[in-house]
């Protein structure tokens, strides 16, 4: 097939509507964006072309509102092999191995159809990772739901969790971690962020840039149906009540086919046949083909009638915009088509040569011999709209004086209430539905440590991973909240003994056209950038999800941070379970008693106010490096970082996880009011259970790290001198009972 590209204007499809301002608007293009399109094309576009521009210039694909800000994130370190810009980030973890990871949102689809929305989110992020040549080894998920009393919440929780499990379990990838929060701000717009971590040999990473004139472009995987047409444009549009009518655009996932696709791709990758490979995610064939051609500086001719189709009567517009799942686009070396075809046929997958690379830098699409689209590629990419949207930073609220917050009247009751509040209650009901043990490498399971730790098969190294964000802090002050999210992720990895290496982020925000929302975004990015720099924790991949609003009400700003670290000897990993009596409990880090934006304030006092706890990045690093060194020296039996709920909650969590009690007391002469000491959410702190407390305290003094013994382990109760005395069974029942009871109840 050779087509004299520019000279042949495309033909119209039968019954093709005329392009009116309304049609343009329905494609989500602003009038000035359409003007820009006309300048690039030099003529009125066909519907296929309009659909392509609309998808490529959607917020989801073009990052038009966020790009200027994302540039501020630090993305380099000696161990970074591939930063943002590819399907996933890649870091060197030694011994010729790389960790490949990314996090991605599937918020809007999950609200419309929770099972399939969440399932296809998991499917999509796994494809991003194995496209790069990595075998996925673990999944995580960060979920935010509305208020538990909202009529839709239960249904959404149950569908999303089943969907994540349904897909990940079938793929045989353990889902080892995540987080789940509830807040009324998510009532009409839940967040489903999925993360996958994979392992690849450093010398066998695959990229998307096409190369080689004339090389064949092949399509593999499932057939294309009418799934999710306009999904990419839809997920960038603010919701309103009639979003229900958009339902038929839901994509359905087939994890069985994706498992076959994974095995087939890895089998092909073991040969030398592949030049470039790219999964079809949002905006399917459109974004994958443009990305490959653009990155390679080449043109592409595709015969759309060659695309395997699931349904009769599909047209080029639908083929280019379909979001059918479990598909990939591959540029092969010439002459390797048969080798590749055999592999995909063995796995019972579709395989079709759909086009070839040209030097025209144009995308020329044909349909039974007629050209239906002819678009210059570079301007579509370089001239893509980019906005420096007006932004207004959120001012730092006044610090809340602990003296103005009442102490609990009944300490026992206050602890039970906190341990069973939706945000702190055990999420075992969720992670028991995820196969977290398959592959036989899970050393630290959900709830047993601050980060999940998974052995890298065939050796002694472990990968630690976590996802973190405290949206109420970000809401109160985005810069602090951004810093805190990074610091907490770094701390969680540190608490297992691993060295934190790099970050993926998932920026979930409201409508960026509102200056306050854009200000939240800007502030969060500044905070994240600052923390990543200070902690040597580069951002290697990420995803942005904007317009998370219902009827003008935005979600809490939620920049989820996913992080990965490495521990050289997995045998040295510690969890947070307190399993032995006779250990002493050391509190590392400074406790000033910060109650602003604390869970105690919200849950016990029903107040959401004040400045969030400040994050002293130098202290964070000093304390964390110290703790990691103590774990490495095998002085630590268990370790837990302090975050939501503060010290008392941290103590209770260690006790019930390991089934061992504790007796602790506020150190004499410590001037902090007790309720602030035990419930404050000061950052940069850890709890350590140890048989050699004196050594640790002495080492801490040398390192300039605050460390104090606050008690010892033993018995079957948690006892805080003069304040608390609770049987572990009672705390456990409250902690583990809430979610199952909630899910089993009817509205």
């Amino acid at each position: 097939m050779t087509i004299a590209a520019e000279k042949n204007p495309p033909v119209k499809l039968p019954n093709e509507p005329t392009i009116t301002p309304q049609v343009v608007a329905e494609h989500g293009l602003a009038p000035d964006e359409y003007e820009r399109l006309l300048k690039i094309m030099g003529r009125t576009p066909t519907m296929v072309e309009l659909g392509i521009f609309s998808a490529m210039w959607s917020e989801h694909c073009s990052y038009k509102s966020s790009k200027v800000w994302l540039k501020k994130l630090p993305t380099k370190a000696p161990w970074v092999i591939q930063g943002p810009g590819e399907n996933a980030g890649v870091i060197d973890i030694g011994d010729g191995q790389a960790a490949v990871f990314k996090m991605e949102s599937h918020n809007h689809p999950s609200y419309i159809e929770p099972y399939q929305g969440a399932a296809t989110g998991v499917g999509g992020i796994m494809r991003d990772v194995f496209t790069m040549g990595a075998r996925p080894v673990a999944n995580l998920n960060a979920l935010r739901f509305g208020d538990p009393s909202h009529p839709k919440t239960r249904h959404l929780v149950s569908g999303v969790v089943a969907g994540i499990g349904g897909y990940g379990n079938c793929m045989g990838i353990p889902t080892v971690g995540g987080e789940t929060n509830f807040h009324a701000a998510y009532n009409g717009n839940i967040l489903v962020n999925a993360m996958t971590v994979g392992i690849a040999p450093t010398d066998k990473i695959f990229y998307a840039a096409a190369a080689g004139l004339g090389n064949p472009m092949v399509y593999v995987g499932s057939k294309t149906g009418r799934d999710g047409i306009h999904g990419a444009t839809m997920s960038s549009t603010e919701f309103n009540e009639d979003s229900e009518s958009k339902r038929p655009t839901v994509q359905v996932g087939d994890p069985f086919v994706e498992k076959l696709l994974l095995e087939a791709c890895l089998e092909l990758m073991a040969t030398d046949a592949i030049i470039a490979i790219q999964d079809m995610g949002a905006a399917g064939l459109t974004s994958s083909s443009f990305e490959m051609a653009a990155k390679g500086g080449l043109g592409l001719e595709m015969a759309l009638d060659k695309v395997p189709m699931r349904e009769e009567g599909m047209n080029p517009y639908e083929l280019m915009l379909s979001e059918s799942q479990e598909r990939m686009l591959i540029v092969l070396k010439p002459g390797r088509e048969e080798l590749a075809r055999k592999i995909f046929e063995k796995w019972e997958l579709d395989f079709a040569v759909v086009g070839h690379l040209t030097d025209t830098e144009r995308m020329v699409l044909s349909w039974h011999g007629d050209i239906v689209a002819n678009i210059p590629i570079p301007p579509l990419v370089t001239e893509a709209p980019m906005y420096e949207r007006p932004w207004k930073l959120t001012e730092l609220p006044a610090t809340l004086d602990a003296a103005k917050v009442p102490a609990p009247k009944d300490w026992n009751a206050s602890l039970i209430a906190l341990m069973s509040c939706p945000d702190l209650a055990s999420k075992a009901w969720i992670w028991h539905q995820y196969d977290h043990l398959i592959l036989g490498n899970t050393a630290v399971r959900p709830q047993d440590g601050d980060a999940a730790v998974v052995r890298i098969a065939g050796g002694h190294k472990g990968l630690a991973m976590t996802s973190d964000c405290t949206p109420r802090y970000v809401q109160a002050h985005p810069e602090t909240g951004g810093r805190q999210a990074v610091a907490e992720a770094w701390r969680n990895i540190t608490a297992t003994g691993a060295r934190p290496l790099a970050v993926t982020d998932n920026m979930n925000f409201g409508n960026p056209q509102k200056p306050e929302i854009m200000g939240q975004f800007a502030g969060a990015v500044m905070g994240i950038a600052e923390a990543c720099k200070a902690l040597d924790f580069p951002v290697v991949s990420g995803n942005v999800s904007l317009y998370n609003e219902t009827e003008g009400r935005p979600i809490l700003p939620t920049p989820t941070i996913g992080a990965v670290g490495v521990i050289a000897d997995i045998g040295k990993t510690v969890g947070s379970r307190l399993t032995k009596a006779g250990l002493r409990i050391v509190l590392v880090g400074e406790t000033k008693g910060w109650l602003g934006q604390s869970l105690y304030l919200r849950e016990a006092c029903k107040r959401e106010e004040g400045a969030p706890p400040p994050v002293d990045l130098a202290a964070e690093r000093r304390n964390g490096d110290f703790v990691r060194a103590q774990i490495d020296a095998r002085r630590v039996a268990a370790c837990h970082d302090l975050s939501d709920g503060g010290l008392l909650v941290g103590l209770a969590e260690m006790c019930i996880a390991g089934g061992t009690g504790m007796e602790v007391a506020q150190p004499a002469g410590n001037g902090v009011p007790s309720h602030a000491f035990f419930y404050g959410e000061d950052q940069g702190r850890y709890l350590i259970a140890t048989g050699v407390a004196d050594e640790i305290v002495a080492e801490a003094r040398k390192a300039g790290v605050p460390a104090v013994v606050i008690g010892h382990s033993g018995g079957t109760s948690l006892v805080v001198k003069d304040l608390v005395s609770l049987k572990l069974d009672d705390i456990k029942a409250a902690h583990e009972g809430w979610l199952p009871a909630y899910m089993n109840a009817t509205e």
Binding site: A162, G165, G166, N169, C170, M171, G172, D254, P255, F256, V257, K259, L260, W347, E348, W431, H432, Q433, Y434, D435, H436, L437, I438, L439, G440, N441, T442, A443, R455, I570, G571
Partner: protein, 229 residues
């Protein structure tokens, strides 16, 4: 001992069981693709866990019809031991090598958790390293592990000592508290009449190393090796 592990489209715990077998025998088992109607002579055939054919229609139904299973049935008839784990249990049952069937968990959810099992007999090549009545801890991970058989079949199973494992509480009590899926009589694993075929829902292969879930499952593989070498 030479072992073969079958691989179907959608199998996903074949690596886990291969790793466990290698741990106790020092030898990587032979991996046998579902389309292969013939494979090397072997002392043990393992049908591993996973989601063969996506678990669509009925778990194990499509895999049970594959060429390799026809060969497995021939060899099983000659007495070659067959071990079906999780999806493998479902496949072996669908293939008619074991009585009963595995239905949807009574709570309708997938469940991944450590469970306790009471070993019903040590008198089999699969359980000889355990003692009758012993309680072991191994994980389950399934959505359809709810064992069901009609009253006659159950009676025969009980009378002939064909029940291998039952779910129990940590102290060995066999009641509802330790049952993760609603399975009848708390049945977690069963034998055929000659006790040369065993199927079980739990994953002993994921309990063979101290750092990764404990070692209670290891004795199952050690016992097989001892019996077959």
């Amino acid at each position: 001992m030479k072992a073969a592990v079958l691989v179907f489209p959608g199998s996903n715990r074949e690596g886990d069981v291969a790793q466990a077998i290698e741990l106790v025998t020092g030898q990587r088992p032979q991996m046998v693709w579902h389309g292969d109607g013939d494979f090397d002579k072997t002392d043990l055939i393992v049908v591993p866990g996973g989601f063969s054919y996506g678990d669509y229609l009925r778990c194990g139904a499509m895999a049970a019809q594959s060429p390799v299973m026809a060969e497995v049935k021939r060899r099983a008839a000659k007495g070659v031991p067959v071990l079906g784990i999780c999806n493998g249990f479902q496949i072996v049952t669908e293939a008619g090598l074991l009585p009963g069937t595995l239905m949807r968990n009574s709570h309708l959810k997938f469940v991944c958790a450590d469970v306790h099992l009471k070993v019903e007999t040590s008198q089999s090549l699969f359980t000889n390293r355990y003692q009758a009545g012993q309680v072991i801890k191994v994980p389950v991970a399934h959505a359809e592990g709810n064992y069901f058989a009609d009253a006659d079949t159950l009676k025969k199973l009980e009378d002939r000592g064909q029940i291998a494992f039952r779910y129990c509480a940590p102290d060995g009590t066999v009641d509802g508290t330790g049952n993760p899926n609603g399975s009848i009589k708390n049945i977690a694993g069963v034998f055929n009449e000659t006790k040369t075929v065993m199927g079980l829902m739990p994953h002993p292969e994921n309990a063979t190393e101290p750092l990764f879930g404990g070692t209670d499952g290891k004795a199952l593989f050690e016992g097989i090796v001892e019996a077959l070498t």
